[in-house]
Amino acid sequence: MFTKFFDSRYNPDNLSTLQRYVEVQSLENAYDLEANLAVLKLYQFSQKYNMDITCQILLKALTNFPHTDFILCKCLLNQALCEQEPIKKIISLADLLESCDFEKFWIEVNSMPELFKRITGFHDSIRKFVCHVVGITFQSIHRSLLNQLLGRVDEQTLKHWVQKYGWKEEANDMIFIANQDENIKTKNITEKIDFESVAAIMAACR
């Protein structure tokens, strides 16, 4: 039999430390994807998933949109687990975020506040993602639409987000996001052949 060392990543003795670390992340609004994936991997090896910790990891992954962390976590679960509540619920929330159905997302979130209570800064992390999508999509957006996407926040909070991203309030309740036409323009790909690349082949032909 093959003996020797064990990579500490797969050492089940580390699990309790790693699990505590997950709770710290939830509490202190910190995030460490790699550590969380290591926890899920240990669960995968033992086939014993701690439901509470697994949910926290998945919820933390939601806070890191637009990165695809949630997919990475989901791939380490199994089918039976994905059918269990509250994991099933969290997956459907991820689905709404991925589809940018923010309106429905906020309704769902507001209907079960206890699920997110332990995740410090959950709502604002999602708003960050909303602002990311708005920032890459709009040149200017109606104030009420932005507010709707952010989950109907109060006047003060809306102003805060607009300011944070350097957007500008304009007349007629419009908000100017950015000059998108500078980045998003029709590209023409033409072939450029420089002298050097022709020189080599012409030198060979004699």
Binding site: F5, L76, I136, F138, I184
Partner: protein, 427 residues
């Protein structure tokens, strides 16, 4: 007799591997063995393959005889996942290969950090191939993050190893992991580059050896994956790969996928994906009948959820392609042609959601520089992009002028060749 592998063979092979690796790894000074790279690659690759094969066998408890079940239960350590990981990690550590690659990519001399064992090509290459083995193993378990991470400092295009099967296998798993992480640009780049390499070196894989059967299968799988990626994320690729997709009739599949045929997506995915495994075998007394399919089903489900989220994007893209500016209301009408009732306001609302989703899904991390394949920055690499200014969509497309350079180079070479032959004719 390919199907005649019995449990004794599997156990025997495992113990042989243990003896060999123990011999190599527990030596006080480097074992003085020089083996060709191809052998070392196959040694490690086959090790992972046999683990995969054993796991699949073990997952079908119903097909095992009572005697086999008894034997398996008495030897739970045989082909255990931790044991396999242990071997691969030990080989990596013993050879200092990670440190060596780090120095190598920064332009230094790997020997300066290789250590006593790592300087020997036996240890060095076993270490290197173990990294690729880990890539494969992590992929089989659905851990795409570790899969890519383990290859840090390996620039697959720089070709540290010259074993074609290793290059091809590496690109297959790397590309697949990228696709699952929605890093389509990176996946497309990885697949195109290796498929070009295969195209150029085709004659190497003509003979019907077992390696070539594997290589040809993997090539076919990568064309499928490339087709999937190009449907989800249309972008310019090399002309000769485009031509190969046409010759191999992938356009029909791509056409179906573009029109939202989920079965086609699923069929392409299940044909082309790795043979996923559950890391732990089922218990022998009450295993579910389809346990061996579960891992594949789960990964398929994850992928299909992504496909489903992106379902409306190809339709939107096909409309946007026709315009440079388009009012939201007009596109909303186009998109709801089948159900004309309902308020326009609601239709616009639905469309806006899809447009946000379009932008979100098409902006992904793309590798630009650095030694880790996980690094990158958010980019919109797809050929069509747009932005919304209040109620108007402004569209930017990519226009590609036809290329002539390649054509002329081919003709020049052909002409040269002809000329040479003419000169050689003696009348």
């Amino acid at each position: 007799m390919p199907n005649e592998v019995n449990l004794d063979h599997r156990f025997g092979s495992f113990f042989n591997y243990c003896d060999l690796f123990n011999f190599i790894l527990s030596a006080d000074s480097p074992v003085s063995l020089e083996l060709p790279d191809v052998w070392l690659w196959e040694l490690v690759d086959e090790f992972v393959y046999q683990f995969q094969s054993f796991s699949q066998y073990r997952a079908r408890v119903q097909k095992m005889s009572e005697e086999e079940i008894k034997k398996v239960n008495a030897n739970t350590k045989v082909w255990n996942i931790l044991c396999v990981l242990n071997v691969l990690h030990s080989l990596v550590d013993k050879s200092n290969i990670k440190r060596q690659l780090e120095v190598y990519t920064s332009g230094g001399d790997p020997d300066s950090v290789a250590g006593e064992f790592g300087r020997h090509s036996l240890y060095k290459m076993l270490g290197y191939y173990s990294l690729v083995g880990l890539l494969r193993l992590h992929s089989l378990l659905g851990d795409y993050y570790q899969a890519i991470k383990v290859l840090e400092n390996i620039e697959i295009h720089k070709k540290y190893s010259h074993v074609p099967a290793c290059l091809i296998s590496t690109s297959y798993y790397v590309g697949f992991a990228y696709m699952m992480m929605r890093r389509y640009s990176d996946a497309i780049r990885t697949f195109s580059s290796i498929l070009l390499y295969i195209q150029r070196t085709k004659q190497l894989f003509q003979s019907r050896s077992y390696q070539n059967v594997q290589i040809n299968k993997q090539t076919e799988q990568m064309y499928h994956l490339l087709a999937i990626c190009l449907v989800l994320h249309p972008q310019c690729i090399d002309d000769s790969i485009q031509a190969a997709l046409r010759e191999r009739n992938y356009h029909e599949k791509m056409y179906k996928m573009q029109y939202g045929d989920e079965e086609e997506f699923e069929a392409c995915f299940t044909f082309a994906c790795p043979k996923f495994l559950s890391p732990t075998p089922p218990s022998t007394d009450n295993a579910r009948e389809d346990y061996h399919k579960e891992a594949v089903q789960h990964q398929t489900q994850v992928f299909m959820a992504e496909v489903y989220q992106q379902k409306t994007l190809p339709t939107i893209r096909s409309y946007l392609k026709l315009y440079t500016t388009l009012p939201l209301a007009k596109l909303a009408m186009f998109m709801s042609q089948n159900h004309t009732d309902g308020k326009l306001e609601d239709k616009i609302e639905v469309l806006r959601k899809h447009l946000l989703c379009f932008k979100h899904k098409m902006k992904n991390i793309v590798w630009t520089k650095g030694t880790s394949g996980l690094d990158g920055s958010f980019q919109s690499g797809s050929e069509l992009d747009f932005y919304i200014d209040h109620n108007m969509i402004h569209i930017a497309d990519t226009k590609v002028a036809s290329r002539h350079g390649d054509f002329f180079i081919r003709k020049i070479i052909k002409f040269e060749d002809l000329n040479r032959k003419l000169h050689a004719i003696k009348i």
